[in-house]
C-alpha cells in the first residue's frame, strides 16, 4: 500500500467580508491515489472549483486558506514558498480549465504555448522541445500535429483548443492532473471525445486525476471514486459504483433523481391540427469583421420544415451553431428569415406588420436562456411583468392583479412584485420570466434553452413547472435545447438539427428507441452517463 498521491485534510477557505457566506470551503477532506480518477461533483456554490484552485495556490487574492492541509509528495502545499510552488505547477501537478478559448493566450501560437510549458521546467534540451510538442499533439489526437502548432487559438475549434490545453498539461508527465469542468463549455459530442481522451491518457500514464464537474452523468462515465460537495462540505464520498448505485444521503439521491430524461416518455399526441407550420425556412448570416475583410457565411437555416400541433410540445435539439436559437427568433420575427414560410393558426407570419404582428407576438411568447440578461436590471419585477398586459390595454390595477396571480402560480409570492431582479437566484428569475410570458395569455410558448443555465436540481423544478402549467392551460410549446435528456423529459416530438438542417424528426419514444440518422445516434451515444442511467431505470422498473 503506497501513500496516496494527494491528501486534502480539513481544508477551510475563507471568503472576504461582504460575501454571501464566510467560508467557500468548510472542512473538506479527500484523497487522490495514483492511477485513479476522483470526481468532485456539486452544484454551483459548492466550493468544488475553489478546492481545485487551492491545490496549486491559484486562489483569488481575497480567498485565504484558514485551516487544513493539502499534502502532495510529503509536503504541505499551503504556505509553500512561491519558488517551490512554481516548480510543482505544470510539472508534478498540471491543471486544465473550463473555458478553452479564454484559457489560452489569444496572441501566441499554440505550439509556442505548449513549448513554453516544457522549457520552463527545463527537463529536456531546447533542441528537443519542438519534437516533444509534436509528439504531445499527436497523443491528444490533434489533426496534423506537426503543423498545427503554428496556429493561433482563434483558428481552432473549441474541442481542439481543449486538446491543446491537455497537451500543455501533459507536457512534463505530471503525476496529478486537475481538470476543472473541462467539458462544460463544449458540445456533447465533443465532450464525449475529450472525456474518452482524458480516461485513456490517465490509464496509459498511471496518473491521478481530480476531475471537477457538475454533471453526475460525467461522473458515472469516468469516475473511480466520487466526492459529493454541497455548500463547501463533503456530503458523501466513496467508490463511484457504491455512491451512485446506493447513495447514502438524500442530497446525492436528489442529485441523481434530478438528472432529466429518465422518466417514462410521454405518448405522442393523437393527430391534432397544426398550430405552427414552418416551410422551407432559410437564413444565412454574412458578417463582415471589418470594411476590407472577406465576409463570413454562416448557414443558420437551410430548408427547415416543421409542424407544431396544437397542445403539443416540440423539442428542437442541436449543438451550438445548429441554428436552433435562430429558428426560435425567426418564428417571432426578432430575426428576419431570408426565405420560406411561417404560418401560425393559418395566418402568414412573415407578411405581418404593425398591429397584426403585435397581436401575434402576444399569442406566442418566449422565455430566454440567460436568466440574468432576461430581466431589465433597472426595473422592479412587477413593472417588468405589467408592461405586457398594459401594452394591450389593461389598466394598471388589472395588470398588477394578473402579475400577482402568475407570480403565485410560478411559486413566488406577491412580495416579489416590488423587488429588483438581482435579489433573485437564477431559478427564481427563470420563474419570473415564465410568469412574464404567461401574463399575456399566450397560445404558444417558445422556450429557448430556458433551463440550460440552471443547476440540475433547479432545472428539474422548472421543467416540472413548465409541464404542469402546460397541462393546466393547454399551451403548445416549442422547446429549444442542446440537451437530449431535457428534450426526452418534456417533448412529444423531437426535431434534431445540425448546421441549419433538420436531420431527423420523430415522436420522442421512436427517436430514442430507433434513431434513424447517424447524427442522432452519435448525439445519443454522447449523452454522459447513458449506460448508468439506463441500468438505473431498469433497476427502478423492477
Amino acid at each position: 500500500m503506497t501513500a496516496p498521491l494527494l491528501v486534502i485534510e480539513n481544508l477551510v477557505l475563507g471568503l472576504p467580508q461582504g460575501a454571501d457566506r464566510s467560508r467557500a470551503v468548510d472542512g473538506i477532506s479527500l484523497k487522490v491515489d495514483r492511477n485513479e480518477i476522483v470526481c468532485l461533483v456539486g452544484e454551483s456554490g459548492s466550493g468544488k472549483s475553489m478546492t481545485a484552485h487551492a491545490i496549486l495556490g491559484l486562489l483569488p487574492s481575497k480567498v485565504k486558506a484558514l485551516q487544513g492541509e493539502i499534502r502532495f509528495g510529503g509536503r504541505d502545499l499551503i504556505g509553500l514558498a512561491p519558488r517551490e510552488m512554481r516548480a510543482l505547477r505544470g510539472s508534478n501537478i498540471a491543471m486544465i480549465f473550463q473555458e478553452p478559448l479564454t484559457a489560452l493566450n489569444p496572441l501566441a501560437k499554440v505550439g509556442q504555448q505548449v513549448a513554453e510549458a516544457i522549457s520552463i521546467h527545463g527537463r529536456i534540451s531546447d533542441r528537443d522541445v519542438s519534437a516533444r510538442v509534436t509528439e504531445l499533439f499527436d497523443q491528444v489526437g490533434l489533426p496534423d500535429p506537426a503543423s498545427i502548432g503554428a496556429a493561433y487559438p482563434f483558428q481552432l475549434s473549441g474541442g481542439q483548443r481543449q486538446r491543446v490545453m491537455i497537451a500543455m498539461a501533459l507536457a512534463n508527465d505530471p503525476q496529478l492532473l486537475i481538470a476543472d469542468e473541462p467539458t462544460t463549455a463544449l458540445d456533447v459530442t465533443t465532450q464525449r471525445q475529450i472525456l474518452d481522451l482524458i480516461v485513456s491518457l490517465q490509464k496509459k500514464r498511471d496518473m491521478g486525476v481530480l476531475f471537477i464537474t457538475h454533471d453526475i452523468g460525467v461522473v458515472a462515465d469516468i469516475a473511480d471514486r466520487v466526492v459529493v460537495l454541497r455548500h463547501g462540505k463533503v456530503v458523501e464520498q466513496g467508490a463511484a459504483a457504491a455512491v451512485l448505485d446506493s447513495p447514502q444521503t438524500d442530497y446525492t439521491r436528489d442529485l441523481l433523481d434530478a438528472v432529466p430524461g429518465r422518466g417514462t416518455i410521454r405518448p405522442a399526441g393523437n393527430e391534432r391540427e397544426a398550430l405552427l407550420e414552418i416551410k422551407d425556412l432559410r437564413k444565412v448570416f454574412t458578417s463582415r469583421q471589418s470594411f476590407f475583410a472577406e465576409p463570413r457565411r454562416v448557414v443558420a437555416a437551410d430548408g427547415v420544415d416543421l409542424v407544431l400541433k396544437r397542445g403539443d410540445t416540440l423539442a428542437v435539439v442541436g449543438e451550438s451553431g445548429s441554428g436552433k436559437s435562430t429558428l426560435a427568433r425567426m418564428v417571432l420575427r426578432l430575426i428576419e428569415p431570408d426565405g420560406g414560410a411561417i404560418r401560425f393558426d393559418g395566418a402568414a407570419v412573415r407578411a405581418m406588420k404593425g398591429e397584426t404582428l403585435r397581436q401575434f407576438r402576444r399569442k406566442v411568447q418566449i422565455v430566454f436562456q440567460d436568466p440574468y440578461a432576461s430581466l431589465d436590471p433597472r426595473l422592479k419585477i412587477g413593472e417588468s411583468i405589467v408592461r405586457g398586459p398594459m401594452a394591450f390595454g389593461a389598466s394598471r390595477a388589472e395588470a398588477v392583479a394578473i402579475a400577482t396571480r402568475w407570480l403565485g402560480k410560478v411559486g413566488l409570492g406577491a412580495h416579489a412584485l416590488n423587488r429588483f431582479p438581482h435579489e433573485f437566484s437564477g431559478g427564481q428569475r427563470q420563474r419570473i420570466c415564465i410568469a412574464r410570458a404567461l401574463a399575456l395569455d399566450p397560445v404558444c410558448l417558445i422556450a429557448d434553452e430556458a433551463v440550460s443555465a440552471l443547476d440540475v436540481s433547479v432545472q428539474a423544478q422548472v421543467l416540472k413547472l413548465l409541464s404542469d402549467l402546460k397541462a393546466e392551460i393547454g399551451l403548445s410549446m416549442l422547446f429549444i435545447t442542446h440537451d437530449l435528456r431535457v428534450a426526452r423529459e418534456i417533448a412529444d416530438r423531437i426535431v434534431v438539427m445540425q448546421n441549419g438542417r433538420i436531420v431527423e424528426q420523430a415522436p420522442t419514444a421512436e427517436l430514442f428507441d430507433a434513431p434513424r440518422a447517424d447524427y442522432t445516434q452519435r448525439l445519443l451515444n454522447a449523452v454522459p452517463g447513458r449506460d448508468f442511467f439506463a441500468r438505473r431505470a431498469l433497476a427502478d422498473a423492477v
Binding site: L58, R86, S91, P106, L107, E116, Q155, F292
Partner: protein, 325 residues
C-alpha cells in the same frame, strides 16, 4: 486576389474620405455671410478687383452649385489648393515647404508618447496601489488636464529662461548656415527636444492611463491563470503573456488619436515658433488667409489618414487575429 480587392476597397475608402473633406471645405466657403469669391481669394478688407474676377471665373462661381462643387473637387484632385494673394504663392507650394518639420515633430512625439505610455502604464499597473503607481497615476492625471500650450510655456520658463539649457524657440540657430551636416542635425535635435516633450507628454499621459487599466484587466484574464498553472514566475508572465495583450488597445487608440496629435502640433508649433504646418496655420489665422487654412485642413486630414494606415500596420504586427479573420 482577396488581398488586391481588399487593398482596392481600402483605397476607395480613402478617396471617399478625401472627397468628403473637400466637400466640407466647399460648404465652409459658402457658409460665410459674404461673397465666396472673397474667401477663395483670401481677402476681406482691401480688394484687388481684377484678382477677384479671375477667381470668380476660375471657380465658376456664376454657375450652378453642383458645377461649382465639381470644379472645386476637380482642382483639388489636381493638387491645386488655390493661391494665397497675401503671400503671393501657391498654397500647395507653401504647405509642401513646411511639411518636413511637422512630420519630424509629430512622428517623434507619436513614438515617444506611445513607448513612454506603454512603459509607465505597465509599471503602474503592475504595482497597482503601491507608491510608484500613485505617483505615475497622479502625474498622468495632471498632465492629461494640462493645456498643451501652457505646458510648452512652462517648459520654456524652466529650461530655457531659468536654467538656460535649451533653446526656447525656432528650428535651428541663426548661425546654422555655417554648420557641418552633423552639427546642423545636433542643433535641430536640441531645438526639437522641448516641442517634442511638450506634445508627447499630454498623449503619454493618456496612453499611460489606458495601458495601466488595460494591464490590470489582462491580469484578470483566464490565460494568465493558465500561465501561472504552467509554473511561470510573475515577471515571466508579465513579459510573455501580459504586455503585448495589454498594448493592443493602446496602439489601436493611439492610431485614433492621430487627428488630435496634429491638432496639438498646431498649438505646440505656435508656442515654439516651429516652422511647420502649425505655425503656418497660426499665421494664416492671424491674417485670415482662408486659402491657406482650407488647404492646410485638407493636407492635415490626409496626414491623419496616413497615420491611421501606419497604426493599422502596427496593430497587424502585434495582433495575429486581424490577419486571420
Amino acid at each position: 486576389m482577396p488581398v488586391i480587392s481588399r487593398l482596392f476597397a481600402k483605397l476607395a475608402g480613402i478617396v471617399f474620405t478625401i472627397l468628403v473633406i473637400a466637400t466640407i471645405n466647399f460648404i465652409l466657403i459658402h457658409s460665410t455671410p459674404g461673397d465666396p469669391a472673397l474667401v477663395i481669394a483670401g481677402q476681406s478688407g482691401a480688394t484687388d478687383a481684377k484678382f477677384i474676377e479671375q477667381v470668380r471665373a476660375q471657380y465658376g462661381l456664376n454657375q450652378p452649385f453642383v458645377v461649382q462643387l465639381g470644379i472645386y473637387i476637380g482642382k483639388i484632385l489636381q493638387f491645386d489648393l488655390g493661391y494665397s494673394y497675401r503671400q503671393q504663392a501657391a498654397v500647395s507650394q507653401l504647405i509642401l515647404e513646411r511639411l518636413g518639420p511637422t512630420l519630424l515633430l509629430t512622428l517623434s512625439a507619436f513614438f515617444l508618447s506611445l513607448i513612454g505610455g506603454v512603459l509607465f502604464g505597465a509599471l503602474a499597473g503592475q504595482r497597482q496601489g503601491k507608491w510608484s503607481d500613485l505617483v505615475i497615476s497622479l502625474l498622468s492625471l495632471l498632465l492629461y488636464a494640462t493645456p498643451v500650450f501652457w505646458l510648452g510655456l512652462m517648459l520654456v520658463l524652466i529650461f530655457s529662461i531659468q536654467l538656460e539649457w535649451l533653446p526656447a524657440f525656432g528650428y535651428a540657430s541663426i548661425r546654422a548656415a555655417s554648420f557641418s551636416a552633423l552639427e546642423y542635425a545636433l542643433d535641430v535635435a536640441r531645438h526639437l527636444i522641448l516641442p517634442v516633450i511638450t506634445l508627447a507628454a499630454i498623449y503619454m499621459a493618456v496612453y499611460t492611463r489606458l495601458m495601466r487599466s488595460s494591464l490590470i484587466e489582462v491580469s484578470h484574464e483566464d490565460h494568465v491563470r493558465t500561465a501561472r498553472a504552467k509554473g511561470l514566475s510573475e515577471p515571466q508572465i508579465l513579459s510573455r503573456h501580459m504586455l503585448r495583450n495589454a498594448a493592443v488597445p493602446v496602439v489601436t487608440f493611439a492610431g485614433m488619436q492621430a487627428g488630435a496629435l496634429i491638432g496639438g502640433a498646431v498649438v505646440v508649433e505656435t508656442v515654439f515658433s516651429w516652422p511647420g504646418l502649425g505655425r503656418l496655420t497660426y499665421d494664416a489665422v492671424t491674417a485670415r488667409d482662408y486659402p491657406i487654412l482650407l488647404g492646410l485642413f485638407l493636407i492635415m486630414s490626409i496626414l491623419v489618414i496616413a497615420t491611421n494606415l501606419l497604426s493599422d500596420f502596427l496593430h497587424r504586427l502585434i495582433d495575429p487575429r486581424i490577419k486571420g479573420r
